[in-house]
């Protein structure tokens, strides 16, 4: 090996190591972007409502630590006493106070009771306005500060009996990371959520079963049975995939009104028991199965039906798993049709998508409940997808594109 080739190799290896790191970095970055909203959702589903309205927002759920005082649980705060952060409890509220600043450093504000401040008679200029100087007593020291504005503070006391004052709203609470699991049970107790969950399972199961059944049959027919106009019919049927749902939305709605299916759960199931894409998928897969298997079965006197179910189907689990997962996701997550076909007043025929949307409107005061609802709606498809991932990814696109 020439030295040139060796150096080239070495350079290549170095470059490829850097390249690999770079690739991991990019992949990781995008993965983070994809996953962060879900992490945020899962964490927020465990928060209390106050925690969800907090600013600055945090990811992890936290609740105030409490201390038992005279039989009640009081929240603990963390306030500095003589410079050291101490755990204190709120003992008094509504104390008339003032916001004091040193004119030299106007950003640092001290909220302190007016009772502990005596006017010195002096004046200063603060942001173009004239303000009075007070002698403010903090602990054992007094400082001369300017009064910026009035406010109201609360009185806090530590276990050792030391006292301090601060604005109650902004006093940092001593918090621990703690999950509020009862959000989930609370969400399910809301009208329609539990029912929506079982309805969605029912609808999805029926639709998936129907689509699998009709697609397997249809796919087999298009792949293996010869009848006139087969290819023409197939192409036309396939072409229907290109028809956007909204063109059909209004007349399909009217058809459902004519059948009197509107506002009943069945309207989400019966028109969707067949699927052109599913038939296409199964047909592509069946075409790939060698035809000799049929011939030997024919000699044994088998009909198309038995050949399909005894030979082809057992060989097609990947495609069936793919199609099943696809249909499941489509049925579980479908939103527009249930929105249109089920009345908002009809709680009992809700599915998760519209129950969730309604929750989003009704529970605006408690976003943690909305998140808990989303977790419930999302955990089943994710679990299914993870389980079926092996079959799913390779097959879905390969057959779809070719």
């Amino acid at each position: 090996m020439t030295t040139a080739a060796v150096t080239a190799r070495r350079r290549h290896r170095r470059r490829s190591l850097l390249g690999k790191l770079g690739i991991y970095f990019i992949l990781g970055f995008f993965a983070l972007l994809m996953v962060f909203p879900f992490v945020y959702m899962a964490a927020s589903a465990l928060k209390t409502p106050a925690d969800t309205f907090r600013y600055p927002p945090r990811v992890l759920p936290r609740q105030p630590t409490t201390l038992e005082v005279n039989g009640e649980q009081l929240p603990l705060f963390l306030l500095p006493i003589i410079g050291i952060d101490t755990q204190v409890v709120l003992v008094e509220e509504g104390i008339e106070a003032g916001v004091f600043v040193d004119p030299g450093t106007p950003q640092q504000e001290l909220a302190w009771p007016l009772a502990l401040a005596t006017p010195t008679g002096g004046q200063a200029t603060l942001e173009g306005e004239t303000v009075e100087i007070y002698s403010v007593q903090v602990g054992s020291t007094s400082t001369d500060l300017a009064l910026k504005r009035n406010t109201v503070v609360g009185g806090f006391e530590s276990a050792a009996g030391e006292e301090t004052f601060a604005v109650v709203r902004t006093a940092p609470a001593a918090e621990t990371v703690s999950a509020e699991w009862k959000n989930f049970s609370e969400v399910l107790e809301r009208p329609a959520m539990e029912r929506a969950l079982s309805n969605t399972i029912l609808v999805t199961t029926l639709v998936v079963a129907g689509v699998l059944f009709t697609s397997i049959m249809g796919g087999y027919a298009f792949a293996r049975i010869r009848f006139p106009f087969r290819n023409a019919i197939f192409v036309t049927y396939l072409g229907s995939i290109m028809i956007p749902f909204i063109v059909v939305l209004v007349p399909l709605f009217q058809l459902m009104v004519a059948f009197d299916w509107i506002n009943h759960l069945g309207v989400l199931v019966w028109p969707f028991l067949f699927n052109a894409y599913g038939t296409f998928l199964m047909r592509q897969f069946f075409v790939g199965i060698p035809g000799e298997l049929d011939d030997s079965a024919v000699i044994d006197g088998a009909t198309h039906w038995t050949i399909l179910w005894r030979i082809y189907v057992p060989l097609s689990w990947p495609a069936i798993a793919t199609l099943g997962t696809f249909s499941f996701l489509y049925a579980w997550n479908s939103f527009v049709w249930p929105l249109v076909a089920i009345n908002t007043a009809n709680n009992e025929s809700y599915v998760l998508t519209i129950a969730l949307r309604q929750l989003g409107g009704q529970a605006v005061e408690s976003p943690n409940l909305i998140f808990a609802g989303i977790v419930i709606a999302v955990v089943v498809p994710i679990a299914l997808f993870v389980a079926a991932q092996r079959y799913f990814v390779e097959n879905v696109a390969t057959s779809g594109i070719k």
Binding site: L27, R54, R230, I233, Y237, P244, R357, V378
Partner: protein
């Protein structure tokens, strides 16, 4: 599939079943002819709301075919068998539908849904049993048998418990009490007879009598197998599509009678400022969202294709937004977009403060009001759409790359090609068909934007967004159809949108074909 048989063609001997079959077809032909006559003279039974020409056409064609098939059957002509098969199939489907409709089985799903919750645990039992049976296949002999029996037992017990817990007995009882009443019993009778005819038509003695070849038999099988799909397609897709075209030429409001107004809806649409706005909006959306959903996906896919460890994890993570469903994703982003306490603005703030650590920078963090400001409202939709779609497209591209032999890449490397060169000269051409597919599907999805604005703007703003910034054609269609009761107008919007999508798809196909890249 029976081998050729010698036909029994003696004209004197007609087996009973043949006579019966011919009689049945004759009956059908006559009955539908009578129906035709009644509808034509518009006396007697009037079927509510059905356009008369259509019913007459259907009845007329059915009648003619039935009579024809009767004569053909009489003459042992195989064509009669085929026609009879098709007619009875259609009849069984239609009569079966009416039977179930009369017994209210379709809407009975409501009742099932009420009790289904109780049955869920048993559904889980069945699932466990099924998993167990799959698991048992790997085991050794005796264990396999035991596990198999156990799993089967579990499934049967689970199924029985499920049925009982969701109220099988009362259900059966209701079903039986309803089905014995007319009109249900009549429909049931028709269904049963037509199914009987179907079974008869497929028996071997019929085959022998008609001398049908196996090819001819296959045709019948084929029709039977595709019938659910085709009938469903006709009833729930093609039918409504045709009706939609017709409705778009009327001024129907969904409540009262419609009157034909020709192309008026389309002309009005042409001048409608709201529709123009929606087209502008969707154009803006598409120009941003479609490239952003595809180009990064291409890059990510080629990165994933390098077959480094951990790729499967990344693939799964990228697919997550597509799996989670649009409602959940939109609601999460709604919280993130909150201008005051949302995480996005907070992240921008933190990022700016980080940048401000650099000595020469002193930026103020922009805190856009994502959903309430007309300038950023549509952009917010773009972001959510890209979020949901990019993972799916990446996975599609990865699959498209599966077929590429790694030797191609190695050869290119030896020739001195860098990452960019490999990408441009190997990855992109190989992925051309995938790219077309992905572009088309993403475009179709993008042009139908509805759910994201619908959910993100609620409850304070209408789905149109601030100052109509997020009004899309589909939202406009929805509002016209279900809020303003202008179903004719809405149908016209649907067709115009369809036309736009169709034309764009055609353009994509054309450009690919010209470059000679698309091989079919």
């Amino acid at each position: 599939m029976v081998a050729d048989a010698t036909p029994v063609r003696s004209t004197g001997e007609r087996p009973v079943w043949l006579v019966g079959l011919a009689m049945w077809q004759l009956l059908l032909g006559v009955a539908t002819a009578v129906g035709f006559g009644m509808v034509a003279s518009s006396t007697g039974i009037e079927i509510v709301g059905t356009p008369r020409p259509l019913t007459m056409a259907a009845l007329g064609i059915f009648s003619i075919l039935a009579l024809l098939s009767a004569t053909w059957i009489w003459r042992f002509d195989h064509r009669g068998r085929l026609i009879a098969f098709i007619l009875n199939l259609v009849l069984a489907a239609v009569a079966g539908f009416f039977t179930l409709q009369a017994v209210n089985v379709f809407n009975g799903l409501d009742a099932l849904s009420a009790t289904f919750g109780d049955g869920l645990p048993f559904l889980a039992v069945i699932a466990v049993g099924w998993l167990l049976s799959g698991w048992s296949r790997g085991r050794s002999g005796r264990w396999e048998r035991i596990l198999l029996t156990a799993s089967r037992g579990l499934m049967i017990v689970g199924a029985a418990a499920l049925l009982l817990s969701v109220g099988l007995i009362p259900g059966l009882w209701t079903f039986l009490t309803r089905i014995v009443l007319p009109p249900a019993i009549i429909y049931l009778a028709i269904t049963v007879f037509s199914i009987a005819a179907l079974r008869l038509l497929k028996t071997s003695q019929v085959t022998k009598a008609f001398g049908s070849t196996s090819k001819q038999l296959e045709v019948m099988d084929g029709i039977a197998f595709v019938s659910p799909n085709i009938l469903g397609f006709l009833a729930f897709l093609a039918g409504p599509l045709a009706i939609s075209l017709f409705v778009s030429l009327t001024d129907w409001d969904g409540l009262s009678e419609a009157s034909f107004i020709g192309l008026r809806n389309y002309i009005d649409l042409f001048a409608d400022p709201f529709f123009h706005r929606s087209l502008l909006n969707i154009l803006y959306f598409g120009l941003l969202a479609i490239p952003l959903s595809i180009i990064p996906a291409l890059g990510l896919a080629s990165a994933l294709n390098m077959k480094l460890p951990g790729m499967r994890l990344f693939r799964a993570l990228y697919f997550l937004p597509a799996v989670a469903g649009v409602v959940g994703v939109a609601l999460i982003w709604k919280q993130l977009y909150n201008a005051t306490i949302g995480y996005i603005n907070y992240a921008i703030l933190q990022g700016t403060e980080l940048l401000n650590l650099l000595p020469f920078l002193d930026l103020t963090a922009p805190q856009p009001q994502w959903l309430s400001n007309p300038s950023t409202a549509m952009l917010s939709m773009v972001i959510v759409f890209v979020f949901s779609t990019i993972g799916f497209n990446t996975v599609l591209f990865v699959a498209g790359l599966q077929g590429v032999p790694p030797s191609l890449y190695e050869a290119a490397e030896l020739d001195g090609a860098g990452i960019w060169g490999k990408f441009r000269n190997i990855t992109v051409p190989v992925l051309a068909p995938t790219t077309v597919f992905v572009t088309i599907t993403t475009t179709i999805l993008a042009l139908q934007l509805f759910s994201e604005p619908f959910i993100l703007n609620a409850p304070q703003l209408s789905p149109n967004g601030p100052a109509n910034a997020t009004l899309t054609p589909v939202i406009y269609l929805y509002q016209n159809a279900f809020e303003r009761f202008k179903q004719g107008y809405a149908s016209a919007i649907g067709w115009v949108l369809f036309l736009i999508i169709f034309v764009i798809t055609l353009i994509y196909f054309r450009t690919q074909r010209e470059e000679g890249v698309l091989t079919k």
